[in-house]
Amino acid sequence: MGDLKSAISTFFAGLLFGVGLTISQMVNPAKVIAFLDISGDWDPSLAIVMVSALANTFFGYRYIFRTSKPLFSSEFRLPKRQDIDARLILGAVLFGIGWGLVGLCPGPAISGLTFAGLNVILFLSSMLITIVGFRVITRK
């Protein structure tokens, strides 16, 4: 039963995320590039999306973490690492280059599946194959 409740709530969380990405137009690569292109006709919308999402999450998390555990699960699963290593930086550099090349990151790419056509399918397939390959190779 717990499984069903989790699945339903995570479905709604995903739906809400997809609706947010669409309303804010973050599913549109041209909109993302217009933010990253500071030397052109700069569009700061993405920064507003980030700040708004961040502020809501910041206050929401504070409220939630007063409770001892989530509704449908035994514990909050939070990353514990705090060290800054080369892997983190290299990963962020590679991700930033890929993001800047086309204006797509994982969320909007997945949300684009039903309407963004072949372009997003090319990107997603390539991303998925890389992720699976990485996970298989680095699996302990």
Binding site: S6, T10, F11, A13, G14, L15, L16, F17, G18, V19, G20, I23, V27, P29, A30, A34, D37, I38, D41, P44, S45, L46, M50, S52, A53, L54, N56, T57, Y61, P70, L78, D83, I84, R87, L88, L90, G91, A92, V93, G96, G98, W99, L101, V102, L104, C105, P106, G107, I110, S111, G112, T114, F115, A116, F123, S126, T130, I131, F134, R139
Partner: protein, 141 residues
């Protein structure tokens, strides 16, 4: 800044934040898309269902919006073809190596005041900006 859309950006961003809060409140998980997706391939059976249902919701979100405003689904790709494949590899590898993307580090990690997320966010913002600058001024397009 003629294309600046502060209201839809604030509303959309707030919904993304609410989604992250709701996911933490209900199942205690970080709303990081690259992590949710990547974990799908190494997760145990018990850990898989919530990931799949989140991703199905994420895919259906735009359809829900389209009943209200179809124009929001008109998207433009500044580059095409092999660039998309190359970018897919970089984003796939980068998010797995760096343990996160715009959502996991940019929203959830920064909301937890994680230093790793702050550094990662600053790094991919800067490299993204530099990449667009180089493409525009030296590669053309």
């Amino acid at each position: 800044m003629e294309n600046f859309t502060p209201i839809s950006a604030s509303v959309g961003g707030a919904l993304i934040g609410l989604s992250a809060v709701f996911l933490m409140w209900s199942v205690g998980r970080i709303a990081g898309i690259s992590g949710i997706l990547g974990g799908l391939f190494t997760a145990t059976k018990n850990d898989r269902l919530w990931r799949v249902s989140f991703l199905i919701g994420l895919i259906l979100g735009p359809t829900l919006v389209s009943f209200w405003n179809e124009e929001l689904l008109d998207v433009t790709f500044p580059v095409q073809g092999s660039f998309l494949i190359l970018a897919g590899v970089l984003v796939g590898l980068g998010t797995q190596l760096g343990s996160g993307c715009t959502s996991g580090h940019g929203v959830c990690g920064n909301a937890r005041l994680s230093m790793r997320s702050l550094i990662a966010t600053a790094t991919f913002m800067i490299t993204g900006i530099v990449t667009v600058f180089i493409l525009k001024h030296f590669v053309g397009g």
